[in-house]
Structure formats: C-alpha cells, structure tokens
C-alpha cells in the first residue's frame, strides 16, 4: 500500500482558524476578566488549536479510531499527572499562603 494517499482538507481554512485562535489568545490576556476565567479560556483555546493540528494537519480525522486512542493517551496521562500532583500542590500552597502574603506586603521596620 506504499503511496496510499489521504484526503486533503482545505488547509488554508485550517491555517486561518489557527491564526484567528492565536489572535484571540493574545486578546484574552488583555481582557478585563478574572484570572481563573482567563486561564480556562486560554486552556480551551490551546486545546482547540492542538485538536485542529492533530485532526487535519496530522490527518488523525482520516485515520482509524484506535490510532486516535494511541494519540490521545499522552493527553490523558498528563491530565492524570496533574490530578496526582494536585493534592500535594494544594497542601504546599496552604502552607505558603503566609509566605506569599509576606512577599507581597511591604516590609515594616
């Protein structure tokens, strides 16, 4: 089957979607929104861009479902790792609240 070809989607349309999403990402960081909202929006936009690249540029949309599972496994492992680190991170964050306050507050002598 050497030389078998994939369908070629409209690559220029994907390029414009990616360019527009990048512009939106940059606009979001200047938007007067709470930090949590900005972080959630940026994560969503990054995942959207990554999905466009994987689905259309890497032709994952035209591959078998099992290959899609191979490709998405690292994302699941990384997400799992974040949740594994979360309890430890939250415990340390609780202990460092006082330190953060001391760092941000002006020194009094």
């Amino acid at each position: 089957m050497a030389g078998a070809e994939h369908k070629h989607p409209n690559y220029m349309a994907i390029f414009w979607y990616l360019a527009i999403l990048t512009a939106i990402e940059i606009a979001v960081i200047y938007a007067p929104l709470p930090k949590v909202t900005i972080v959630v929006l940026l994560c969503g936009l990054a995942l959207g861009k990554a999905a466009l690249v994987a689905m259309y540029f890497m032709h994952l949309r035209f591959e078998t479902r099992t290959l899609g599972l191979v490709a998405i496994t690292p994302l699941m492992i990384a997400t799992l790792l974040v949740f594994l680190l979360l309890p430890d991170g939250l415990a340390v964050a609780k202990r460092t609240v006082g330190v953060k306050a001391a760092v941000s507050a002006p020194a009094k002598h």
Binding site: A2, H8, Y11, M12, L42, C43, A54, F57, P74, A78
Partner: protein
C-alpha cells in the same frame, strides 16, 4: 543473506491494521506518543512548581510575548507549507514538493534563530538556569529546560526535513516517497502542536 531474503527484506511482511500505508507511520505515532508523555510530564511539573511557589514571577511581564507570538505564527505557517508539500507530492509534482519542504525547513531554522535571540536577550537581562532577579529560581530552570527541549526538537526537525528533501530527489517516482514525507509531516506538526501548548502555559498564563 540469501537472494530470497534480500528480496523480501525490502517488502513489509504484513500490513498493520492501524496504519495500512506503512509500519513506519505506526512507528512514528508511537514515538510521538512517547515524546508527548515527556512534554506532558514537563508541563505538568511546571504547573505543579508554579502553583506551589510563593514568589513565581509573572511570565508575561518577564518574557514578553511579541516575539513568541510571531514565532507561533511562523510555526503555524511552516505546518501549512508541510501539508502543501505533501499535497503537491500526491499530485505528482516533485519540484513543488521540494520547494515547500524547503520553506518548511526555512521556517524551522528562523524559529530556532529567534529562540537563540530570545534566550540571549533574557540571559543578558538576568534570567539564568539557577536564578533570576524576579523571584523563584525554578522559573529560569523550567523555562530553559522546556523551551530548550522544544528547540532541540525543532533543530532535529530541520535536519530531518533537509534529509527528506534529498530523499525525495533520489527516489524513482513521487509516489515512492509519499509515505516518508507524510511521516516527516507527522513529526513536524507534532513540534507545532507542542509549541502551541508551551506558548500558552509558559508565556500567556
């Protein structure tokens, strides 16, 4: 090697049901999955360190995003030239394929040069791997580790692209190099995909 073995060594013994085109493509996907775990671990660790640090600097203020936004756009453009190269090769035009592969490699080379400029500027301003004037020393460590690891991938990708241009030239027909170019494209798009994540998590958030 017997004459029979030498003939059959050039033929793939069976098709993989996941990637019927070639075993090489499945091999590249498995390599990329492993590499993605590596980047995932680095970025998750970065998030963990940042969340638990008392004095993590604001990356947006220290690093700036003008240059890196342009670098992101450059990598997106190079991904488009990569798929265009594959499209032209599928249409039988080897010359245009080589031209677009060259543009892709050029985009990667410019990206690496921009990164070298960014690093030298930041080092000059005081960002070092073991400390910086703005706060947690791990900020510099993680920045150089993650962007450096990605930069090595881009450098490897440029070398890979240059060698594949030569491969396309030397093959007897455009169809004979289609799989190799498609596999190269998978690697290059992966480098682009990882940068999308690095740009978001290390520069924007």
């Amino acid at each position: 090697m017997s004459p029979s073995a030498s003939v059959h060594s050039a033929i793939e013994p069976a098709e993989t049901p996941l990637t019927p085109e070639s075993w090489g493509k499945l091999g590249m996907w498995i390599f990329l999955a492993g590499d993605a775990v590596g980047f995932g671990v680095l970025l998750a660790s970065y998030g963990g360190m940042r969340a638990t640090s008392a004095d993590w600097p604001n990356p947006y203020d220290v690093l700036g995003i003008n240059l890196t936004a342009a670098m992101t756009f450059l990598l997106i453009c190079s991904s488009v030239t990569m798929v265009k190269a594959l499209e032209w090769l599928g249409g039988g035009d080897r010359t245009k394929c080589r031209m677009f592969l060259f543009f892709t490699a050029l985009g990667g080379a410019i990206f690496v040069c921009c990164q070298a400029y960014e690093w030298s500027k930041l080092i000059h301003e005081g960002l070092h791997i073991n400390g910086n004037p703005w706060g947690a020393s791990l900020f510099g460590t993680s920045f150089f580790l993650i962007t450096g690891f990605h930069g090595l991938h881009v450098t490897g990708g440029v070398i890979y692209l240059v060698s594949i241009i030569r491969y396309v030239t030397n093959r007897p027909s455009p169809a004979a190099s289609y799989n190799a170019v498609e596999i190269t494209g998978l690697y290059w798009h992966f480098v682009d995909l990882v940068w999308i994540m690095v740009f978001t998590f290390m520069y924007l958030i």
